[in-house]
Structures are given as structure tokens and as C-alpha cells.
Amino acid sequence: MNADGCYPGFSELNRPIREVVTKRLIGVTAGSSLQEGVAKMVEFTISSLVVTDDGEPVGLITDADVKRAVADGLPPDTPVDKVMTTGLITVDISTTIREALETMSRQKIKHMLVTEQDTIIGILTLRDLEDMQRQRLETYISRE
């Protein structure tokens, strides 16, 4: 066992998110239609999409943004940049899981873009962290 009292791979709140974040993001280009964006979210079964303009991230579309757009009666050809959330809340890749969770709860958000040297390189979702805990439940089910 290591200094954290756990073997590598186990979820420890004091570990940096670098060790759990997938450094890949699925994006959609600004100007694409809402329908194209949602089709991508369905294709990849993901709850958020990064909107890019000339390769640079300019916003984020989440399930909640899509629901709001439909509720507001926006047509499917609405550009994604009209629906996306801007003013992105980001977290540095060296931040600990504990600090990231605290920021998420304080800001009441479930997705945070992850930066390294001010470049967006990944996304951390609450579900990623929940999924790591799910194994304990599964182990319990397996024993039944």
C-alpha cells in the first residue's frame, strides 16, 4: 500500500483529477445546428458537448441546455452557439478530486472542463466519480 493507504487505482479524494480524467473531448463546431449537436450526444451517449470555434472551445452544451431549448420551442436548426453555456467553469488538471467536488457543489454544476496550462484538455463529470464508487455496489450484488 502507498502513503494514501490504498493501492493505485482506488478512488482517493486527495488524488489529482489528472489520474481519472480522460484527456479526450467530443466537440461540435459553432454554427452547427442544435439537431446535429444532439445527434452527436445520442451517437456517443454523452451528456455534454464542447462547442469549438476555429478549434478553440467557446462553450458547452449539456442535457439541461437541450431540454431548455426544446421547452423554449427553439427549432432544430438553431445554431448550437445560441444554446450553449458560456463563461465556462474550468478546473486545473492538478486539482484534487476533493477540491473539484467542492467546486462542483458550490457552483451547482455536474460538468467541469479540465485545463492544463490554460488549454482545455478534458472534462470531469460527476458521473465519472460516481461510476468509480459503483463497483462497491456491484460487488454487493454479485454476492447476492
Binding site: 493501492y7 487505482g9 482506488f10 489528472r18 480522460t22 479526450r24 472551445p57 482545455i120 461510476d131 459503483r134
Partner: protein
């Protein structure tokens, strides 16, 4: 920044090392104008005081910052404490300009095996976090982390190579320097360049090779590696340091494959029927063009398990191709496999993509081997389909898998991996050690599957199978939890990007 990388000097008797070669190499160091010299171990032949004295006397001629770490030969004869006495610390961190060099002792007394223990693993992890904003991060250790070709049977590997590889990739390390196998080799894996040095002055070289060393240049955008042999031959490779994180252009999806391993179907408690049934439903719902089962179909090669497996797998209404694990062909399984699931080397082609099976399993053994004859046959089959996208699948791993003891499960993984990467194979699917893993080696995406439905699995995310979606512009790989159906992205890579 310029790094002079040498390894395996094996200072000892005249039959062990070429003294003249080492002296010429010291001259090359003096002329290289390098910023640092990194010696990745086996400084001495057998860890004796006389060898250490002589090595120190020779290496003290180097007029540049030096990082030297021990190898398995240095740990012989109780030699590790002499390493500290004559050479210096066996592990540590050095800062040279923009770079941080984390060097680790992977040797322990009187064993050729390698091991990075939990304390050193933690030291590496903490150093990577502490220096995470450094423009250049280098890890140096004696034992190779990934299999090395042309060096004989894959053995003497790092016990926990899978965890070390995972740490290196998640820590965005730029360079990993090692030695040990006496044969030079370079891979780019994801964004990390793994450089193995040949023997600098040991008389024992592999594959008819001669002594060699590496000169590595790093600037803001590129890494350049020159492998210089004493016969004057120079091999050069360059790697871009640019990294891509956001993928927007996928194009049309052209193929969907599901990769499954270690189902362990049986009527015993090692098999998790609810996991299996939920996964079968999920796979049917995904409507894949093909399912590839990478071995471990049954718990044991006995008629009862094969009966259950045939009944359960018949529920899958998708094309399936199989390759066996050792356990599938134990006992009567050798005959039952052929009866129930067909030939050992199965293949699939739709005219655009070729999946070629490689049977690596042997009965009564966990270890796998492909062998030079079959390897050549597979390469010939791949070469005969030049217009196809190419995928191969086998049970045994070609890259170390996290949280599992790396035993060199595939005896010729070094040669196989090199040949598949050089043949520009797009996908390599494996299914051992029951932990998901995916990484691109050169232009080849290597994907390992977790156990679908056995209690013997190692992932925090639970049992799973992999979904491999091939688009015109990219390959996306997800693992899908067997019980709940939750997806987790393992990686996305641009297609046709070799090198």
C-alpha cells in the same frame, strides 16, 4: 535540450564488456554538447566492488550533468549499497533546464525481474504531480515498460509494468528511457515516446546487433531521436509534441465492433449470469456489425461449461468470431472448442475491414506464444489485403495491463507488437488480465477488454465490454459496464495517422 542516453555498459571482465567501445563512447559524449547524460542501468556486470571502482573511474571523465540508475546486474552480489557508495542515489529527481528527470531503481537483489515497489511508485506519482507544469517530463528506469522486439523471449519484465505504464500516460510524461534488453527500440505511445537503448558496451548484444546509444533532442515542438551504432549506422526518428484533445470531425460511422473477453460461462459461482444477460441485451441493442470474443469463453474446457456457453451465446443475434484462451482448450476443450465455435484462427472481412485472429493460447498454460511461423503467416494475410483497414485479435496482451502482474504472458509480444505496428495495423484487440485499457502505439490502437461476466476482474468501473466505433475520420473506443450499460470513453484517435 540534448540528452545523451546510454545503457548496459556492463563494466567487468574483457568477456563482459568492450573497454575500447566505452572509451570511444566517452569521447562521443564529450563531443555531443549534451545538457545531460542518462545511463539507464547495468553499469557493472555483477555488482562487485572492483567493477564499481572501475566504472566510477571511467564515468568520472564525463563533463556534463549525469543521471545514473542501477540495473539488475548492479544489484547482484549485494551490489546496490556499492552503487550508492560509488555512483550515487538509486532513485531521485533531477531538474535540468526546463526538464525534470524522475529516475527510479527497478532492480532488486539477485533477480533479473524488475519491480517498482509501492513507495517508489508513490514517489513517481508525487513527483509527476509536483512537476506537472514542467514543459519536459522524463522518466528513466532500467527495465523496459513495453515489450522490446528482437531481444528473444519476453521475460525479466517489470512486475507492475501495467501500473507504471498507466501512471506514465496519465502523467503526460514526454520521454521514458530504459535499457535492459540490449536492443534499441522506439515507440510513441499516446503522447509519450518510449526509448529503449541498446547495449552501450556489453559484449552480449541481441539479434546480431552492435553496441549503440541514443542522442535525443527536444525543442518546443519536436522530439528527435538518433540511435547511433558503433559501426557508424544512424537511425533517426522525429515526433511531434503537439497534442490533440478535442474531436469534432468524425464523418460517417463505417463499422461498429463489440469486443468481449473472459465471459467465463459456466454454472458455477465464478460466472455472473445477470451481468452476462444484461450485457447480451445491451450488445443486441447496439446492433454491431461484428462481435469479437478474445478468449475465456468458458470457465473450463469441460462439456458442461461448453453446453451452457453454446446455449447462452446463441441468444446473440450478431456475427461473432472467437479466439481461445488457454482455459478454453484445457481438458476436452481442445475438441469442444472446434465443435462448438469453429477453427482457432478465425477471420472476418466485409470488403473494407479485415479482422484476423491469432491463436496465442496453449492448453494447460496461462502463457501465450504466437511463434515466428504463425507470425509470418498473419503478416502475409494482412499484406494480401492492402486496401483493407486491418484489425487483429488474440487473447494475450501485447501491452502491460494495469493492476495485474506482468509476467510476459505472451512470450513473443516484443516481436509481435513491433511487426504489427510496422505493418500499419489499425487495431489490435486483446483480452487478458481482465482490465480495460486502450492506447495508440505508433499508428496502431491497442485495446484490451475487461472480463464480461466473471467475478475475476480488476476494474473499479466493474465488468465490461468494449464498443469500437470506426468513423471515416476517427476510431472511438468505449467500455460499457456489463450490468448497468454505462459508457466510459477509453479513447478517440484520428484514423490513418501513422507515426
Amino acid at each position: 535540450m540534448r540528452i545523451f542516453h546510454l545503457s548496459d555498459t556492463h563494466v567487468g571482465s574483457a568477456s563482459d564488456f568492450n573497454k575500447g567501445t566505452l572509451y570511444r563512447l566517452l569521447e562521443a559524449i564529450a563531443e555531443s554538447e549534451c545538457d545531460v547524460v542518462i545511463h539507464t542501468g547495468d553499469v557493472t556486470q555483477s555488482g562487485r566492488r572492483t567493477e564499481y571502482k572501475r566504472a566510477r573511474q571511467m564515468l568520472s571523465k564525463i563533463d556534463a550533468p549525469v543521471v545514473i540508475l542501477p540495473g539488475n546486474h548492479d544489484a547482484r552480489s549485494g551490489g546496490l549499497h556499492l552503487f550508492e557508495e560509488y555512483i550515487g542515489d538509486t532513485s531521485g529527481v533531477r531538474e535540468i533546464g526546463d526538464a525534470v528527470i524522475i529516475y527510479v531503481n527497478s532492480a532488486f537483489a539477485d533477480s533479473d525481474q524488475g519491480r517498482v515497489g509501492m513507495v517508489k511508485y508513490d514517489m513517481m506519482r508525487q513527483a509527476l504531480n509536483e512537476y506537472s507544469d514542467r514543459p519536459v517530463k522524463i522518466i528513466a528506469l532500467h527495465h523496459h515498460v513495453v515489450p522490446i522486439p528482437r531481444a528473444g523471449r519476453e521475460r525479466n519484465v517489470l512486475y507492475n509494468a501495467g501500473d507504471i505504464l498507466d501512471l506514465i500516460l496519465s502523467g503526460d510524461v514526454d520521454l521514458v528511457l530504459s535499457g535492459h534488453r540490449h536492443y534499441p527500440n522506439i515507440y510513441r505511445i499516446e503522447n509519450t515516446v518510449f526509448i529503449n537503448a541498446g547495449a552501450a558496451s556489453a559484449t552480449k548484444t541481441r539479434y546480431g546487433d552492435v553496441n549503440s546509444y541514443n542522442v535525443i533532442d527536444i525543442d518546443g515542438e519536436r522530439q528527435h531521436v538518433a540511435t547511433r551504432r558503433v559501426d557508424g549506422a544512424v537511425q533517426e526518428q522525429s515526433f511531434s509534441r503537439r497534442r490533440r484533445h478535442i474531436f469534432s470531425s468524425f464523418g460517417r460511422r463505417v463499422f461498429r465492433a463489440v469486443q468481449v473477453s473472459n465471459s467465463y460461462i459456466s454454472d458455477g459461482r465464478a460466472f455472473l449470469p445477470q451481468h452476462f444477460h444484461n450485457a447480451v441485451d445491451a450488445i443486441a441493442g447496439l446492433q454491431p456489425d461484428l462481435m469479437v470474443h478474445c478468449g475465456g469463453i468458458v470457465r473450463e474446457g469441460i462439456p458442461q461449461d461448453y453446453d451452457v456457453a453454446a446455449r447462452e451465446l446463441a441468444k446473440l443475434n450478431v456475427p461473432v468470431i472467437y479466439t481461445p484462451a488457454g482455459r478454453d482448450i484445457n481438458y476436452l476443450g481442445y475438441h469442444l472448442y472446434a465443435t462448438y465455435f469453429g477453427q482457432f484462427d478465425q477471420a472476418f472481412s466485409d470488403g473494407n475491414i479485415l479482422f484476423q485472429g491469432i491463436s496465442s493460447a496453449q492448453y494447460d498454460s496461462h502463457e501465450g506464444i504466437v511463434g515466428p511461423t504463425e507470425r509470418r503467416a498473419v503478416l502475409d494475410q494482412l499484406a494480401a489485403a492492402p486496401e483493407h483497414m486491418k484489425a487483429v485479435f488474440l487473447h494475450h496482451n501485447v501491452l502491460p495491463i494495469p493492476h495485474s502482474r506482468e509476467k510476459g504472458l505472451l512470450e513473443d509480444s516484443g516481436d509481435l507488437l513491433r511487426d504489427l505496428v510496422d505493418a500499419d495495423v489499425d487495431l489490435v484487440l486483446t483480452g487478458t488480465s481482465s482490465h480495460p485499457f486502450a492506447a495508440r502505439v505508433g499508428g496502431t490502437v491497442v485495446v484490451n477488454a475487461n472480463s464480461l461476466s466473471s467475478v475475476y476482474q480488476r476494474s473499479l468501473y466493474g465488468n465490461s465490454f468494449n464498443l469500437i466505433d470506426i468513423y471515416e475520420g476517427a476510431i472511438a473506443v468505449f467500455e460499457i459496464n456489463s450490468l448497468w450499460g454505462r459508457r466510459r470513453l477509453l479513447g478517440i484517435w484520428e484514423r490513418n495517422h501513422h507515426g
